[in-house]
Symmetry: C2
């Protein structure tokens, strides 16, 4: 009894059976009010903490969920981790982390490892263009509504529409889209949304990954050329690209948003802090995390946790929120030649 007190300790001190103590503490089998109170009081007094191992062994449930994150380059990593942890915690679950290092095979291995470690279910934020399937285990996939295995996600398409409209309302017509990789469902949906806001016009797109394959890691994106050709806005599919765009333009002497507007996606931590602060779309992480967790719990025992009905309503994804900041402003009036000359001059 020097170490953690257990059910037997409580039972012994009270002269009752372990079963009764267990029942009283769990509130399951019926126990008289007085005895129940006495037991609870004693448990409190002894600082009783149930042994997760004991419970796990007898129930077959660990009360732990696994979270598999794609990799360090997923800029929303902390947001996912924290929100999933919080949502799980509220429902009595702990969260074990796994990491796929951006490798599809590792992703599978990570899932398996977590299952072997006893996770009752897994939340996975998958790597682009990878499928999470064939595990006969409760899983929730957070990706894009258009992804085949998707469980919950933000409504990236309409997020794109919203940001596209925002730019259009500001008078921008010559918009360039900037994305990382066309194989990402999330990015595809965002891009499609942005285009939709422009009547599905065929806006030019810069795919960074392609560009870097040609010109090398972290190469300039060559955005200044687009500006010279009349572009007045860059709609980026992530704040990360927006940041890259803003700095590249600023470095070339092009004012944001004076000469050109830039928008991002995700409202990453620093998006509101840089100069100019970045206009972006934010997803409702808290809600997404809750839905994912509840979806798993429902698979775990359908009668205790009803299916999150919202999930059905949300087949298009959880709405995103437009955050307007300084990086987007009115389109400059149709540029005169002198304006363009000025841009040329400054960027030499």
């Amino acid at each position: 009894m020097a170490s953690r007190p257990n059910l037997s300790d409580i039972a012994r001190q009270l002269g009752v059976s372990v079963a009764t103590v267990s029942n009283a503490l769990s509130g399951k089998g019926r126990v008289s009010r007085e005895l129940g109170d006495a037991i609870r009081r004693k448990a409190e007094e002894l600082g009783y903490i149930p042994s997760v191992a004991g419970r796990a062994l007898s129930t077959g449930r660990s009360n732990v969920l696994g979270l598999v994150l794609a990799d360090i380059n997923q800029p929303l990593f902390p947001q996912f981790a924290l929100n999933i942890e919080e949502a799980a915690g509220e429902l009595g679950y702990g969260v074990l982390i796994g990491n796929s290092r951006g490798d599809p095979q590792e992703q599978e291995r990570a899932i398996r490892r977590l299952i072997e470690r006893g996770a009752d279910g897994i939340v996975v934020v998958p790597r682009y263009d990878t499928r999470v399937t064939g595990h006969r285990w409760p899983i929730a996939v957070i990706d894009s509504p258009s992804s085949p295995d998707n469980t919950v996600s933000a409504d990236h398409f309409n997020g794109g529409v919203a940001i596209g409209r925002h730019l259009r309302d500001l008078g921008h017509e010559n918009v360039v889209i900037v994305g990382l990789y066309s194989g990402s469902n999330v990015q595809k949906d965002r891009v499609a949304g942005i285009k939709a806001a422009f009547d599905d016009r065929d806006l030019p797109i810069v795919w960074i990954q392609e560009l870097e394959r040609e010109r090398g890691q972290n190469c300039p994106l060559g955005l200044v050329d687009f500006v010279k050709d009349g572009a007045t806005a860059f709609a980026c599919v992530s704040d990360l690209h927006a940041l890259r765009a803003v700095t590249e333009l600023q470095q070339a002497g092009i004012a944001v948003p004076g000469d050109v507007s830039v928008t991002g996606f995700d409202d990453l931590g620093w998006a509101g802090v840089v100069a100019p602060a970045i206009t972006t779309m934010r997803m409702d992480m808290k809600r997404i995390a809750h839905l994912a967790i509840r979806h798993i719990l429902h698979q775990l025992d359908a009668n205790k946790h009803e299916a999150p009905e919202e999930l059905a309503e949300l087949s298009g994804g959880v709405p995103m929120e437009l955050i307007i900041r300084q990086s987007s402003g009115p389109a400059p009036r149709a540029r005169s030649n002198t304006d363009l000359a000025a841009v040329h001059a400054r960027s030499e």
Copy 2:
């Protein structure tokens, strides 16, 4: 046997005892080569996976460690999480995440929750100016060598020295330090290091938190004024501040590094991608993570895991690495009045 096979299944199929199977699989009690091989083969064949709950209950060890991260604003969150997870995984441990939401009380609660969840030990990356003490449980604290409860950390002081030297070597003498909060041990050490590189001269410091308390969240840092007064470099204590500085300066028409150099700390994900890419100091996360984990395992059973002797050698912290990129360059020759006038003009 429809579900996961267990030791009994293996034992029964082979007509041996569970104890022997356990011994064979763990390699502890001695078992004849042939029997051992047969058992291992059968285990493999059945796809045997040990039950963590069963093992935990009988050994009193969960083989899980807890990781408490300060909050979402800790920009190294993903790095810590991934590296700790990896280091723990290599030694057979899983990692449960906890989150202190930047609140000292929550930090304590998070630690306790993880212990209650059965974590064998805890790694904590504490919030500024908070102590992690009084838990009679294996703990490793990753902070700054000068922190009272510190276990492992980067050598922030000498990191500061290195970056200070770098600037000085480039000819910068009018250097302004930019930090968030003087209460942070990490930041204090970095600042002290930078100053040391300048013979402990009393370099001006901008503490962002103070500034924001006066002027409001995300206010401009007013760096242009320093430039007008002759500053040629800003040594920032985090890449985050460096980014803020770079964009603020660029927005004001001040060229980085042409007019002014800017350096950061931590080599955050985007530091190499913005324009100009940010010169920074990187910590050896992998090594730090390993040391922290091994320190915990040593506390857990000293005879199985020897104390990481390196820990003693590293009382000053794990060396940091200087990453030179484009945001730092030679100090402009002593500025003429016309230069200053130009800066004035551009920043109006």
